[in-house]
Every structure is written in structure tokens, then in C-alpha cells.
Symmetry: C2
DNA sequence: TTCGAACGGATTGTTGACAATTCCGTAGAC
DNA sequence: GTCTACGGAATTGTCAACAATCCGTTCGAA
């Protein structure tokens, strides 16, 4: 992805070209280079990404299924806009799925997995003290990825990967809620402790509590009331 | 216009042709008419479904995203086979997602939703007493669909719809485990009571307990040990 | 006989042209 | 002045031919 500064990926076989185009377009959407609601004209993308319409079309199909674009018959594709309500829905689904992943991780993680989780978690405190919220947010993302990987749960992993991509526009929103970073760190510590202690129930509960906190922060960031969606116990 | 070439589905607009082909092929896979691991040769499908390769190709792409077929570059597509391990994973994800849906349903369901849920639930007891396990299984499916609809949770609904399609080959497996139907009915009753009583926490817990039962039954059907995956409390 | 490499059939990936549909601006009627 | 019918441009959906790739088979040499 980031390794393709030059144009065209020029991979070995042409069959992988579609893959490169997909990665490129997806990255542009996720990074916000393409604004929401922006139209994605096939001929346009063909010229810009040096691909044929068939390739572009298959890529758009895939992105549609990933929830990043919307296509309407004979009307074309455009970048999907995710509103507050849907962001909450996605976070709710993330909550239960990551709860499942945390439970499994506490059961089946290898010592290497646990070491990786601890290593990432150890980064977070200093970053927060240094006030580097962006780096903290990135470490946060990596920690969640480590836990999901440690769960060895392919299905949950795949779904979470898609859901996370849809939420990119909101990822830096909660971290700027006053007091949220400190609470976030404490919640993460509870999750990590439970997983490292190999306590599945506590791990799941801690992860669910953590992401419920995220949901609340999401509402706070929107200036709305957090009580209406429930807090998942 | 389109009616001239003779055959073809002769639908109103051609844009819906791909949709029809998708529905047809998907139905064949879900119904089990196409066996797992069976190859899906594009030219074959073109002739059988009266569609061009472009259309067939887009349909296969979509089915791949839905997890019903697997495609390998230059090697073609085949019906995806879901093994025991993956069936358990999918059921685990279903468990937490339907738990979320049940919680939401208990909060936001309309009186019409509750009436529909009760109506379907009322069918189940008699069907079980009559020994019609297939009809019972279908009512079971409809009850779960009603609850998800009542939750008004688009994201959970979409994901569950896909997951359920992947599990069709296992749907009649648990119902034949001795004693399972009776236990299933009791679990359903608990779920319905909690939702109708508008108790979100109890609804979620009951639904999770129910689907944990399904997971155990899945293991019993496979002659394995149910303890290894946890029971979700 | 057995191993390896090249050949040929079968199948998928890609390309460009054609058909169908929608959208927007314009002209006309009331 | 406003609404409706029409027409052309832009765009997507579809189709059939071409190129690239994989797999089973055959031929040849050690």
C-alpha cells in the first residue's frame, strides 16, 4: 500500500492488478482523500488508476460489499457516508465481536501473542503522558489488532477488519473528548491484565466495558446523550 | 428489445438480469443443489443461466464476498466448504450478534414487532409436539429473523444474513440431537418472554444462552466435546 | 522404467465496442 | 410564470472476441 510511490504497481502477473487497484482506491477512501458522497465515475477511475473498466468494476463491487461505496443501478458509485447513527451501530457490533475475540484470546493466545500485546500496551502510557494523542490512537489500533490476532478467530477477524475500515472517519473523534484518553488507558489495562491472566470471562467483560466507553465518547463528541443505546453491562 | 433474442429471462430491465442470476445461483448453493467443492465453470453457468460471462463473473465475485464460493486466480470458482471448526466460529459470531439484536429488540420493538414475534413463537410448540422437526426448524429461523428485524439494527441484520447463508449445510444438524428440540423450545420461550417484557439485559442473556446451546448441539452432532469453546456464560 | 520438459486443451482474466438507462437543459402549452 | 414533454449527453450494464495462465498428457533421455 504505502510502498507504491511510483505509479502502477507493475506486479508480476496481471491478475494481481485488480488487487493493487483495490488497495489503492480503498486507501484513498479510508485516508479521506475522496470525500464522502463524491461520485466515482468508472471511466475516470480507469484513466487515473490505469485499469480497464472490467477491473474497476470488480473493484467497485468489492468496495460496495465492504461498505465503503454505494452503487445504484445506472446511477454509478459514490463514497458512502456513514452518519452518527450508523457509527454507533458499527461500534456496537465491534463491541460484541471484540468481546468475543478477547475471550478467545485469553483462552488460546500463545506466549508470543501475550508478549506482543504487552509490548504494545506498554507503549500507550508514555505516549499519553507525552500528550501525543495521534500516536496513542495508533497504538490503540495496534493493540486491538494484536488481541484479535491472538484470538485465532478468522471469522471475527474478517468482520472486524471491514467494520474498522468503515469507521475511519470517526477514529480520532473520541480521543479528543475531555478525560477520555485517561479512561481509555485504564480500560485497556484491565483488558490486557485479564487476557494475560488467562481469564476469558473477565477479558470479555473488560473489552465490552471498554468499547461501551467508546460508544459513550462517540455520543459525547456528537453532543448527544449516551444513555439511549445501553451500555452492554 | 430484450424480448427479441428469444430465450433470456425476459425480465423488465436488463439491469435486473444480474440480480436474477445471483439469486438463482445463490439459491442453488444454499439449497444444496450444488455440492461443496464442486467447480463452477463460468462457461457452464453462462449456458445454464442464459447470461454472459461478464454477468456470471460479477455474480461469482459477489458470492465470493458473501462467503459462499471461493475463487482462485486462473483456477476458477468452487462452492465453498465450511468445516466444523468454521461452523463453530460462525455460530459464535452469530451468538454475540443475535444477543445484541435481542437486547435492542427489547428496547425499541414496536407493538407490531412483539405481536409478530409472539405469533411465530406460538407456532413452535404445536409443531414440536406434532414431531414435524423440519417445520419447527423453519419457524425457528423465522423467529430469529423477526427478532433481528425488531431490533432495527441494520448492521447486525446484514452481517447475520450473510452468516446464516453460510451455515445452511448445518441448519438441520442440531435439531436431530436427542433432546435438543425440547431444550431449544424452552430457550426460545425465555428469549421471547424477555423481549416482550422489555428487559434488554435478560433478552441478551437468554439469546446468548440459547445460541450457546446451539453450539453445544453442533459439537454433539459432530461427536465431539462441547467444553472446548466456552459457553458464553 | 522413471524423471523432466515441452505441447495442447480447457479455463480464466482482460479489452473494447454496443445497448440501455438516467439526468439535465430546453422548448412548448396552458 | 409554471408545469410538462422532448432530446441529447453522460454513464452504466452487457456482450463477444482476444490474451494469459493452468493442468494433464506425451515425448524423450538417462
Amino acid at each position: 500500500m504505502a510502498a507504491a510511490p511510483g505509479r502502477r504497481v507493475a506486479r508480476s502477473t496481471q491478475a494481481q492488478h485488480a488487487e493493487a487497484v483495490h488497495a489503492q482506491l480503498r486507501a484513498e477512501i479510508v485516508a479521506g482523500d475522496l470525500l464522502p458522497q463524491q461520485r466515482l465515475v468508472e471511466a475516470d477511475l480507469c484513466a487515473r488508476l490505469h485499469a480497464s473498466r472490467g477491473t474497476v468494476r470488480s473493484v467497485l463491487l468489492r468496495l460496495e460489499h465492504e461498505g465503503l461505496v454505494v452503487r445504484e443501478p445506472y446511477r454509478g458509485a459514490h463514497v458512502r457516508v456513514i452518519d452518527e447513527k450508523e457509527a454507533v451501530e458499527i461500534t456496537q457490533v465491534r463491541t460484541v465481536l471484540e468481546g468475543l475475540a478477547a475471550r478467545q484470546a485469553a483462552s488460546v493466545a500463545t506466549d508470543e501473542d501475550l508478549a506482543a500485546i504487552r509490548a504494545v500496551h506498554a507503549e500507550m502510557g508514555p505516549l499519553l503522558e507525552a500528550g501525543d494523542l495521534l500516536a496513542y490512537s495508533d497504538a490503540n489500533r495496534r493493540l486491538h489488532a494484536c488481541i484479535v490476532d491472538a484470538s485465532r478467530h478468522g471469522t471475527a477477524r474478517r468482520l472486524l477488519s471491514e467494520l474498522r475500515a468503515q469507521l475511519v472517519r470517526f477514529q480520532y473523534r473520541t480521543i479528543f473528548v475531555p478525560g477520555r484518553p485517561q479512561q481509555s488507558l485504564a480500560e485497556h489495562t484491565a483488558v490486557v491484565d485479564a487476557i494475560v491472566g488467562r481469564d476469558p470471562e473477565r477479558a470479555a467483560a473488560a473489552m465490552i466495558a471498554h468499547l461501551s466507553g467508546v460508544t459513550s465518547a462517540l455520543h459525547s463528541a456528537a453532543g448527544r446523550d449516551a444513555r439511549s443505546v445501553g451500555n452492554f453491562g
